[in-house]
């Protein structure tokens, strides 16, 4: 691939501005993983069905496997790598770890970010609201219950830390 086939993309990811040259057909998921080294965001189905690739864009859940980076210039992208405050895990991260809500850990980044978007919008959600908000993110390990309980534990501790 020659440099002429690449386009310049400016992205704001986890609060940092970055500028990279990438082929224009690369998805946000691929750019995050391959060009920015943010491998916490995962491939799952390549169809926008499983949400393994979920990130937050301007605070809302967003499927990075269906998004083109050029469309996201000037928007705020958050990946799992940006969720902790320095060395302090986000309360959701701590609750997921403590309650065993991450078994294999593969859906965990997207699950956490989706839960964060929910709590940022609705700080005290009901169990039903948690289920609805997380229903797009598939998990094959947990049966979801420990995930619901972890979100509720984070809520009870004050999820904004």
């Amino acid at each position: 691939m020659s440099i002429a086939d690449k386009v310049a993309v400016r992205l704001r990811v986890n609060g940092e501005d970055t500028a990279i040259m990438v082929p224009p057909y690369k998805t946000l998921l691929e750019v995050l993983r391959e060009d920015l080294g943010l491998t916490g965001t995962k491939h799952g189905c390549e169809l926008g069905e499983c949400s393994m690739c979920g990130v937050l864009v301007d605070g809302k859940p967003f499927l990075s496997c269906l998004a083109m980076p050029l469309d996201l210039e000037g928007r705020d992208v958050m990946t799992i790598e940006g969720m902790a405050r320095g060395r302090h895990p986000h309360p959701l991260q701590a609750a997921f770890a403590e309650l065993g809500a991450a078994q294999c850990g593969y859906c965990t980044p997207a699950m956490l970010l989706t839960a964060k978007a929910l709590l940022d919008r609705e700080p005290r959600p009901s169990r039903e609201a948690i289920k609805a908000a997380l229903s797009g993110v598939l998990c094959r390990c947990t049966g979801y219950l420990k995930i619901f309980e972890a979100v509720e534990l984070a809520v009870s501790r004050g999820a904004d830390g």
Binding site: M1, P23, Y25, R33, E34, L38, T39, G40, T41, K42, H43, G44, C45, E46, L47, E49, C50, M52, T79, I80, E81, M83, A84, P89, Q93, A94, F96, A97, E98, L99, G100, A102, Q103, C104, G105, Y106, C107, T108, P109, L112, I130, K131, A132, L134, S135, G136, V137, L138, C139, R140, C141, T142, G143, Y144, L145, K146, I147, F148
Partner: protein
């Protein structure tokens, strides 16, 4: 009084938890090496065809392509079982399912690799294909392998079942079908291979069985195993789907050798459906004789397995469809006949419960019907046929601890099953079922006398403990089990433990994360290793304190006199003392299961050092208009032996219930015109957070005498009773029998409109099983 344990039995955070919640844990596809190439596989578009010619010349010319492989580059056949070496990394003469790999490329990026696949020209001659048990047996056309589509047929009998059934006061026969489904791990399989300048090959792979991959690489690549290093990366879900040897692993390695550059192959989601090795579709016939009082007198069980295109674990799967009937119920006379057929579908293999959810489904709905015919409630029928602790089954399986009775009591009381089942509101129903499962296969996949699991420890002079073990964490928490057991024995904290696992250069063997074996076997090895090291520390501390070693306790980072706790050394001081005396403090431990196979051919599948037990009650809410079945609530009890970490055990139980509900109600891997109907997540439906029921989990502790601290398995057994409990609950709600999995809305509506109020197979194919191997009956069953 102090608690008996300081780590074991506590719901502690597992060592890899923060790596997972931070996204820092590296799965195979997250790895990237300098100058890495990307590999892709060309797969067959035909279900059954002869490969006449593969022309790679156009692909080789594409700029960015560094290597192209065909079957001739990897001609050595392999397979996970020594008796089924029937796979080629890239098919040479024939393809046997849509998705069977034929050729491979390595290129500088994935797009070029994909383009190169389009430039490979393959000439095929299509052959008639076989897409079902019936078609495979009818055998119209060239068989898939050899002279017949029959892969394996077995016939065993323990006592005279015909006579016992003739003499029975009540006999019932049922025919049941369980459609295939797949593991659907969220992580696609991936492998990265590197061939260093010194000729050393390293493969990082998302595998549950790195030791078996190591062996297969040595065989197929014709390299000494000492020149190959396999590192299993944390699996993003396994469920049995990553416990085979896969073409992409061998091909990535070969491409790395061919190009002398690192090569990564990550399967697409569609390819994961073709890799499969999932649940076999199984057609079953079960016939059981009872006394009027509901005691089993004999059982005859037949299974027909639709195996897909290759052997894989199929010989074991076949035996497993007949093995655990008698560990769940006391059966005095038993006959099992099973046959596995090759079909032109992705190969089936082990999925959670390996070969036992299908017969479990058949048996438990069969018993539900028998109970009704005998005028007994379904719980009472089970209670009259419970296996005894410390007993031997008629097919020679040794039972140690058995908590089935307690499991039954927990769920029946918790759900108020007996009170509520006769007065459920319209469309609502309660169903009940029980099960048992292995705590690890008692025999290794290849014949050998060596341990099944080994652990080494190395202590550093500040009191840190390095644990080395071949076991791979697939999300089930095996890292935690290793750390918790070592920490408990040495009296240190989880934070003091460092783990290096699943690296064939660094870690001693563990056979893999399959057959629910890791807690039991690696746990026992870890315990033995820690006790070896502890004994050495005790010897030096005893000398220093002028007491006997057996007067010492290791706890809270100290080794001290049990009767005078103030007298002691810190753990680090003890290590320093030992190191000063005789050098680096290390120790190892191994676990070899007892030899338990019975005196008959085929007795190698089924024995386990211990069996777990489960019971479930499921509540359903059925929509009579749409046929949709919802599950609002589940009660599940599991005999875990002892929970090393109850939080992780409950996680395994809840995950099993979830996976069972998916299989019971929606998941199926089906085909049309030789093609997988839905190799994508758009169409392959699995339960979401919205379908998650309320679950009541009860852990029953029977403290098994051979398990580490008494522990047994948790990862697979709790799936088993849930599927039939759903079917039984639907009968309770609607008075229809769905004798077929999955129970889709269409089937429910069809059954409601059916004269017999049933959906399910009506017959099994005419097939002559081999002559019965008439095995002797253990002494305890003679005359019964």
């Amino acid at each position: 009084m102090a608690e008996a344990f300081s780590v074991v039995g506590k719901p502690l955070t597992k060592p890899d938890a923060f790596g997972k919640v931070s996204g820092q844990v590296k799965f195979a596809d997250d790895l990237s090496l300098p100058r890495m190439l990307y590999g892709r596989l060309l797969r067959s578009p035909y279900p059954h065809a002869r490969v006449l010619h593969v022309d790679t010349s156009r692909a080789r010319k594409l700029p960015g392509v560094l290597a192209v492989l065909t079957g001739d580059d990897l001609p050595v056949k392999f397979g996970i079982l020594p008796v089924s070496q029937d796979e080629e990394a890239l098919a040479r003469e024939k393809v046997r399912y849509v998705g069977d790999p034929i050729a491979a490329v390595a290129a500088t990026d994935e797009w070029i690799a994909d383009e190169a696949l389009d430039l490979i020209d393959v000439e095929f001659t299509e052959l008639p294909h076989f897409m079902s048990i019936q078609e495979a047996l009818a055998g119209q056309g060239e068989p898939i392998h050899g002279l017949s589509n029959v892969h394996k047929a077995v016939a065993l009998e323990f006592g005279d079942t015909d006579a016992a059934i003739r003499a029975a006061e009540h006999v019932r026969e049922d025919i049941v079908f369980f459609e295939g489904n797949t593991h659907l791990p969220m992580e696609q399989h991936a492998a990265v291979a590197q061939y260093a300048a010194d000729g050393k090959l390293t493969l990082w792979t998302s595998s549950q069985t790195p030791h078996y991959v190591h062996r297969a690489l040595g065989k197929v690549l014709d390299l000494p195993m000492s020149r190959i290093r396999v590192i299993a990366t944390p699996n993003g879900g396994g469920f049995g789907g990553k416990s085979d040897i896969f073409a992409h692993e061998l091909v990535a390695a070969k491409l790395a050798i061919a190009t002398a550059r690192p090569v990564k192959i990550t399967l697409t989601r569609e390819e994961v459906f073709y890799a499969h090795r999932g649940r076999h579709p199984v057609l079953m016939k079960v016939k059981t004789g009872f006394t009027r009082g509901g005691q089993i007198t004999a059982m005859q069980f037949q299974s027909f397995l639709d195996g897909g295109g290759y052997g894989s674990y199929g010989v074991a799967s076949t035996y497993y469809t007949g093995a655990l009937q008698a560990t769940t119920y006391a059966i005095p006379r038993y006959r099992f006949e099973g046959v596995r057929l090759f079909t032109n579908k992705p190969p089936c293999g082990p999925k959670r419960g390996h070969g036992t959810p299908q017969p479990r489904f058949a048996l438990e709905i069969h018993f539900d019907k028998v109970a009704e015919e005998l005028g007994l409630d379904p719980v009472e029928l089970r209670r009259r046929n419970l296996p005894s602790p410390d007993s031997q089954t008629v097919n020679w399986l040794r039972i140690t601890s058995c908590g089935l009775k307690d499991c039954i009591n927990k769920v029946v009381e918790g759900s108020r099953f007996l009170e509520r089942r006769t007065s459920m509101p319209p469309g609502r129903g309660l169903g009940f079922a029980v099960s048992s499962y292995l705590s690890g296969a008692g025999t290794a996949i290849y014949w050998n006398d060596m341990p099944h699991s080994e652990v080494q420890l190395k202590l550093d002079r500040n009191g840190g403990v390095l644990v080395l073990c071949g076991a791979i964490d697939i999300g089930q928490g095996s890292d935690h089990i290793l750390a918790a057991i070592v920490a408990e024995v040495l009296g240190v904290a989880l934070d003091d433990i460092q783990l290096t696992t699943a690296d064939t250069d660094l870690t001693p063997i563990d056979l893999g994360s399959y057959s629910s074996r890791v807690t039991f076997m690696a746990g026992n090895a870890a315990k033995a290793a820690a006790e070896t090291v502890r004994d050495r520390l005790f010897r030096v501390v005893a000398r220093s304190l002028h007491c006997d070693a057996d007067e010492l306790t290791a706890r809270d980072h100290r080794i001290y006199r049990s009767d005078r706790p103030a007298e002691g050394l810190t753990f680090a001081q003890a290590v320093q003392l030992a190191e000063a005396e005789s050098g680096v403090v290390t120790g190892s431990g191994s676990y070899t299961p007892p030899k338990l196979a019975g005196p008959y051919k085929g007795s190698g599948v089924g024995p386990s050092p211990a069996y777990s037990y489960s019971a479930a009650v499921v509540e359903v809410d059925c929509d009579l208009k749409t046929g949709e079945v919802k599950v609002p609530e589940v009660w599940i009890a599991h005999d875990i032996g002892r929970a090393i970490n109850p939080m992780l055990v409950i996680g395994q139980v809840e995950g099993s219930v979830y996976m069972a509900l998916g299989e019971a109600l929606m998941e199926e891997q089906t085909f049309r015109l030789g093609l997988h109907k839905f190799p994508s997540l758009l169409e392959y439906k699995s339960p979401t957070a919205l379908e998650a029921p309320v679950m009541h989990t009860y852990l029953v502790e029977t403290i098994d005498r051979e398990g580490p601290f008494g522990a047994k398995e948790a990862g697979q057994g709790p799936l088993l009773p849930v599927i039939p409990a759903v079917a039984n609950a639907i009968y309770n709600a609607l008075h229809v029998r769905i004798d077929e999995i999955p129970i889709t809305p269409e089937k429910v509506l069809k059954a409601l409109n059916d004269r017999e109020k049933r959906v399910g197979p009506k017959s099994v194919p005419a097939y002559t099983f081999p002559p019965l191997i008439k095995a002797d009956v253990p002494q305890a069953w003679k005359g019964k």
